[in-house]
Amino acid sequence: MTESGTPVVPEGVSELDVVGVRRGSFQVSGSGDTSGFGGLVSPIVMPAPTERPYGGWFDELADEIELALADRNLPVSSVIDKVVVDRDEITFFVLAEYIVDFARMLRDEPGLRFEMCLGVNGVHYPEDKGRELHAVYPFLSITHNRRLRVEVTAADANPHIPSIVGIYPSNDWHERETWDFFGIVFDDHPSLTRIEMPDDWAGHPQRKDYPLGGIPVEYKGATIPAPDNRRAYN
C-alpha cells in the first residue's frame, strides 16, 4: 500500500477489480489481541477483466454474441461492461437496462441457444461503491453444451434490475428469493414477494450489513458469543 492508501498494481495488469477491503485478521475488533494483526488492511481483489483473445471456445462465443448484438442494433460497448474469463468460465458483465434484450438474444439466437437460465444469485459487495449488489445469472446451452455467466450490478441506492421472467419463466422464484435476501427489486416481475422468509420479515438477511443473528451459546456458566461476534483466526 502506498502512503495515499491506493493499492499497488502488479506488473502486466491493466486494472484491478477491487471490490472491498478486509480490515483486521480476527473478524471482530476489540478482542484484546496485541499482535497487531487486528490492524491489517488488505484489498479484496476479484479477477481482472480479460482482454481478447480469451482462448478456447470463449472467443467463438464472444464473436457470436457480438454479431447477435449487432443484428439487434444493440451497441456492444454499452451493453457489455466487461468480460472476465477466469478458471475456465466466462462472465459477461451486462448493464442492467440491457439485460432483458441480452437474455432474449441468448435464448433465441441459433448460434447461442442458451435454453436454460439456472436462476439468479445475488452477491453483496458493500464496498464496491455504486455497484454494491451483483445479480449473477448462470446459463446453460443444451444444444451447444456450454455454459456462460451474466453478471448485472445495481447500486444500493437504486437496487432495480429488470426481470427476465418474461423470457425465462423459471427465474420466477429465483428472483423472488434474490429480492427476499438482498433487496434487489426486479422490475416487471409478476409477483415480487418474500418467498423464504415470513411475509412480514423486515430486512434482507443475506446482505453483508445484516447480522447473522445467532444467540450466545451458554454451557454451565460459560458463554461464547454468536458466530459473527466471535474472534476467529482467519
Binding site: E196, M197, P198, W201, P205, Y210, P211, L212, G213, G214, I215, V217, E218, Y219, K220, G221, A222, A226, P227
Partner: protein, 184 residues
Amino acid sequence: MGLEEKLPSGVLLTSVEKVAGYARKGSLWPATFGLACCAIEMMATGGPRYDIARFGMEVFRASPRQADLMIVAGRVSQKMAPVLRQIYDQMPNPKWVLAMGVCASSGGMFNNYAVVQGVDHVVPVDMYLPGCPPRPEMLIDAILKIHDQIQDMKLGANATTEMVASERLALTSPSTAEMKGLLR
C-alpha cells in the same frame, strides 16, 4: 377420564395410575411433524428394521387431534414456529413433546436468524434427544424413556401435589446462567 379426579390419593388411585399409564404408553400415537433430516431417520425408525410398531406407535397420525406424542424432528425455522405451536395446541391432553435432534433441542449447528434456537421456545418439551441426526436406536431409547415417564405419571390428587412441589422447586432453584464454576 373423570374417575381419577374423584378418587382420594391412596392404593386405589395408585392402581388406577398404573393401569392408565400402561394403557397410555402402550399405544402412544405420534403426530407427523417431520421437518428435515431427522424426519428421514424417524421414518426409518418406523420402517421394518427399527420397527416402532412393536411399541404400538406405527400409526403416525396426520391429524393432531388424534395424536399423543409430537416428535419435532428437524430444524424449526421462524416461518414454521407458529405452525408448530398451532399443531401443538390442536393436540388434546394428555400430550407429550419429544425434541428430536440437536436442531429441535437447541438450534443445533444453525445459530442464526432463521432457526428457532430450540423448540422449547415455542412448546413445552418432555424429552430432548441430541444427535445430528440421532440414530433410530437413539430415537427408540428416547421414546422408551418417555414411556417410563408416562407409566409413572400421576393423576388426580397425586398430580396436584406433584405440580405444587415441582413449582416450588422451580421457583427456588437457580437458573442455568447463574450456575458458575461447573466446568472446573
